[in-house]
Symmetry: C2
Subunit: 155 residues, 2 copies
DNA sequence: TCAGTATAGTTCAAACTAGAACTAGTTTGC
DNA sequence: GCAAACTAGTTCTAGTTTGAACTATACTGA
């Protein structure tokens, strides 16, 4: 997680890791009470209010890699929450969508979780959060840029 | 990861998850080239320049839970990088420390990784990063506070 | 002193994770 | 028109993750 010690510029990383972990703990604590795992919740939340989408699209939105997604979806199908359905136009692709039961689950579980997490955000000023967003976005851009650069250097 | 959609105040979460993931990808890309996993690197980095520490302490510093740590340390012992050694004063506790070979690995791998990650931070202003740190810390405090509160409510 | 309680680590089951190799289908360029 | 390159998903392996149950040891208070 932290991958670093106390070098000056890198205390950001420590803070980032610890903050993300604190979010995950709070979020997962609630999600587990609703009999889902965090990745399962992510998939249900992402499919809610949509006609369904391909694994690729789902993978991009949830940040779950395609290999992992196969297993997560398998387990959601066992629970009767989502379904897979072949595509006409591109036969490699699979459409994943909520079942009626999954739709009901989404309606029950998604607003409840938003409300739950909101109790944390209510402790903070909206302006501060906007500022945080902007700065996180800068940092993310730097990581992505360097990753691309380093990947090219390898060849 | 994201666990949320586009509710106004919660875009922070999206940004937090994506930024953290970008960091992990960049960091792991380098760590894998050095034949370590991110948790293994974390343990080596945390033990470097110390006389060793208990699993509990190691767990707190690395954010790796104790159950996971057992396995990570098992694999590092197989690699000959760390050692476990029983304690006199508290026989429940185990001291984990780098071996000579682990010390050498640390010297080689840790500065290299700091330098690697620094190429990303060099793209940013130090003042911006300090500001980011402060705001992350606020957010983390809010998550932790609500988690404690919610845990109490359960009983 | 000794029962109750707390703590340090390990073990376990179920799930997730990444990347790499693979299969099957699609697109491109010559 | 067809080989080469690309893309979508699945499968695989090794490792990590969590919480919970368990073992062994240490502490605490009547």
């Amino acid at each position: 997680m932290s991958h670093v010690k106390k070098e000056p510029s890198l205390s950001v990383i420590r803070e980032l890791a610890r903050t993300f972990q604190a979010f995950e703990q709070l979020s997962a604590f609630h999600i587990r009470q609703m009999d889902l795992t965090p990745p399962q919740f992510d998939v249900v939340a992402t499919l809610g209010n949509t006609p369904g989408m391909s694994c690729k699209e789902l993978s991009e939105k949830t940040l779950i890699t395609k290999g992992t997604l196969t297993g997560v979806i398998d387990r959601l199908i066992e629970k009767g929450v989502v379904s897979r359905c072949a595509q006409e136009q591109d036969r490699r692709s699979v459409m994943v969508a909520l079942t009626a039961q999954g739709e009901a689950l989404f309606q029950q579980v998604f607003p409840a979780h938003i409300a739950y997490m909101k109790t944390a955000f209510d402790l903070l000023e909206p302006a501060d959060m906007e500022e945080l967003c902007r700065r996180l976005s800068q940092l993310r851009a730097a990581f992505n840029q360097v990753l691309e650069q380093k990947k090219h250097e390898i060849e």
